[in-house]
Subunit: 301 residues, 2 copies
Amino acid sequence: MRAQADERHPDLRAALEHLLSAGGKRVRPTIVLLVGNMLGGNPDRLVTLSAAVELLHTATLVHDDLIDGALLRRGTPTLNARWSPAATVLTGDFVFARAAKLAAETESVPVMKYFAETLAVIVNGELTQMFTSKGIANRDNYYQRIYAKTASLFETCAYTAAMISNAGDETCETMRQFGYNTGMAFQIVDDILDFTSDEGTVGKPVGSDLLNGLITLPALYYIESHPGNSDVDELAEGGYADPQRVARLVAAVRASDSIQKAMGEANRFVDKALAALSAFPAGNEREALIELARYIVDREL
Amino acid sequence: MRAQADERHPDLRAALEHLLSAGGKRVRPTIVLLVGNMLGGNPDRLVTLSAAVELLHTATLVHDDLIDGALLRRGTPTLNARWSPAATVLTGDFVFARAAKLAAETESVPVMKYFAETLAVIVNGELTQMFTSKGIANRDNYYQRIYAKTASLFETCAYTAAMISNAGDETCETMRQFGYNTGMAFQIVDDILDFTSDEGTVGKPVGSDLLNGLITLPALYYIESHPGNSDVDELAEGGYADPQRVARLVAAVRASDSIQKAMGEANRFVDKALAALSAFPAGNEREALIELARYIVDREL
């Protein structure tokens, strides 16, 4: 990933270095490498694909943080917190370009198509979110949104890793299901952490989704079971913009069984991911994928 | 190109429709189709490649206009003049994604690589421009900038069109030269038009490059031959930000022989483009490419 900034000018190299040094869990490239290794894929092509998916993810984060005006990501300042909006837009574009180049270097046309389609799904999801009224509780919208935001790329990771490992159609489809289900679980747990973590751990303010008018799964469960609550009723009228009201709601959601219900839902997705893996013979990579799927829900604790 | 918005939500379709209805000369897809037809390429793949290059170009314009705060393009309001910056960033990203998908649909890995590399060159050029001091006259910078901004994509159009038409290496290289030289000429003439046109024709304010601190070829010639001029000397000190000073300079450049010198330079690039074509047997497509290369310089008149 670092090599992608070579020979460009120092400012761009510094920006990329900053983005990459912020770290992150690197879950997406891990899925690519584990799935590909399990299926006997070529290590070089898998590393190339891994770098491509992580850079695609990084590029979307750069534009996301700019759009949301987010100043912290993973506990360190975002690019837009330090650079101009213009430089941030272009750096995101540059990272997209490098992700596309790496995807092309897998030498697989189907991988390229999946890549481009996934980027369209992610961006379309963000645009939909932007044009959707804030503070509205809608379970269908929620699942569509977390698919576009997270599960689509997880799906692409597992699917394309199987594809470039020359797996058969059925195996590719099973891996797609593994990716989809871990992705859905991952985003649900992320949404739970927005309620349960403290700012120091999660690297951004607690309750930030709600403050942005975004009703995630824990809030959905709470809203569905508290129809008379005035804080709940006011959300759709713009109540999400009131920090005191949101602080009360966050405390109420934390104290309720909504967190547990959301974790139950995340666990159901993980169970489906594990069921997909059961079709494969036991081995180090399968065990590692099982661990990864379990980690997705356990990291909350 | 219009089909790329299908099944997405109405706002995005409206945005794409707006972008495409603004028209433009469609020079880049014309090069793809003429080069490909001359070399006997598959018409369907050439149409796909044409749409891909024009959408790539469109996406970079969307982000460019946002960054420059440009309110008019081709005489119609830019996307950022009507939408929020956030929606504009994402719409540009979406158009990138569709361009990448179309490029993948050419089923050619080398085309994909060229595409991704060209996007990196374009974006890197814009970042370089952003981090370069304004109002400074530097001929090397100028040629590097117009290569990154324009000639790189023209080059990619002609080269990839030859590639997917299964032309040999030598033919591909000759076509690359044709694309490079027409692209350089095209941008020089664009830069001349920024001095010589009226706002109604060019669709943006006259002298806008100079007002943005951008010293293009006509200004370079003028500056080089008027070292004592106080308006010239003040440019690097921030004089470009003074509209009256810039208006004086624009009038002076127009009245000088700098426009003619710059046209001479554009014509030299066109001559090289025509020389590249001379290697091919006469025929309708070759004649059309000759016409296109001549049009690039003649449109100024």
